[in-house]
């Protein structure tokens, strides 16, 4: 199963889409972010982002698996 990456707010603007699917599985969320950042140039460092995997907050070092949905969470501004 492909991997799904979801983007929000300015990161979605940078990527030009709200989500994309990857046929390969990077080793962890940090590797995934580094790879997509090289493509899209998000303008955020990983230290300012959080990551959620399958609707749960996760660590950058969490190993990824086939079919995972990874959400890159930029600094929030609700309210």
């Amino acid at each position: 199963m492909p991997l799904t990456v979801r983007y929000f707010a300015r990161m979605a603007e940078s990527a030009g889409c709200a989500s994309e699917t990857l046929a390969h599985v990077p080793v962890d969320a940090a590797a995934l972010f580094a790879e997509r950042d090289r493509v899209h140039g998000f303008g955020f460092s990983s230290t300012s982002l959080r990551v959620a995997i399958n609707d749960r907050m996760a660590q950058w070092t969490t190993p990824l698996q086939d079919g995972d949905e990874i959400c890159l969470i930029p600094p929030v501004s609700g309210g």
């Binding site: 707010a9 609707d55 929030v76 501004s77 609700g78």
Partner: protein, 171 residues
């Protein structure tokens, strides 16, 4: 329309959806339509609550010296729902409050529209004020929700910087 209480029923003050404990949420936190404050307020009614404190976050017409004409809100809804429920339960445990309800709107909002509504009921006002302030602070600090400001001069920008309202003002 009766409010069920541990000791009986108060006629005309509740409905069948409410619970005695405040543990069950009144509905979804993230909504795409106008916030119905009367419904949310109604869900806070308890026979043992002598105080209700409500915070409404409303779209204003300026930010950092620039005119603002509208805001777009986006959320990771599933994650925001989970995190709001955790906050709601934390508030019920940590403060002397009996019910908590809230909603945050997504989509395009005009000036004066309510973007976020947080309400707390408690036996006494101090706990209600404290819990409500804590909840809106946590919602703004932590929940995966973003706003995009549309400025009077025609540009639009997503906001990702810390909320200036969260910084304590010098005395």
């Amino acid at each position: 329309m009766n409010l069920r209480t541990p000791t009986g029923t108060l006629p005309g003050t509740g409905d069948s959806e409410r619970t005695d404990t405040g543990i069950v949420p009144a509905g979804p936190f993230i909504v795409a339509k106008s916030i119905e404050s009367a419904v949310l307020r109604h869900a806070l009614g308890r026979a043992d609550a002598g105080a209700v404190v409500v915070f409404e976050g409303v779209v204003r017409d300026h930010h950092a010296g620039r005119g603002v004409v509208r805001l777009d809100y986006e959320a990771h809804a599933a994650l925001a729902e989970t995190q709001w429920e955790e906050l709601r339960l934390q508030a019920l445990l940590a403060f002397d409050v009996v019910a908590v309800s809230g909603q945050h709107r997504i989509g395009s909002l005009g000036i004066g529209e309510c973007a976020v509504w947080i309400g707390v009921s408690a036996p006494h006002r101090v706990a209600a004020f404290r819990a409500c302030e804590w909840l809106i602070g946590e919602v703004k600090r932590d929940l995966p929700i973003w706003k995009r400001e549309h400025y009077a001069e025609g540009q639009a920008e997503w906001r990702h910087e810390p909320d200036p309202g969260a910084v304590p003002k010098p005395v």
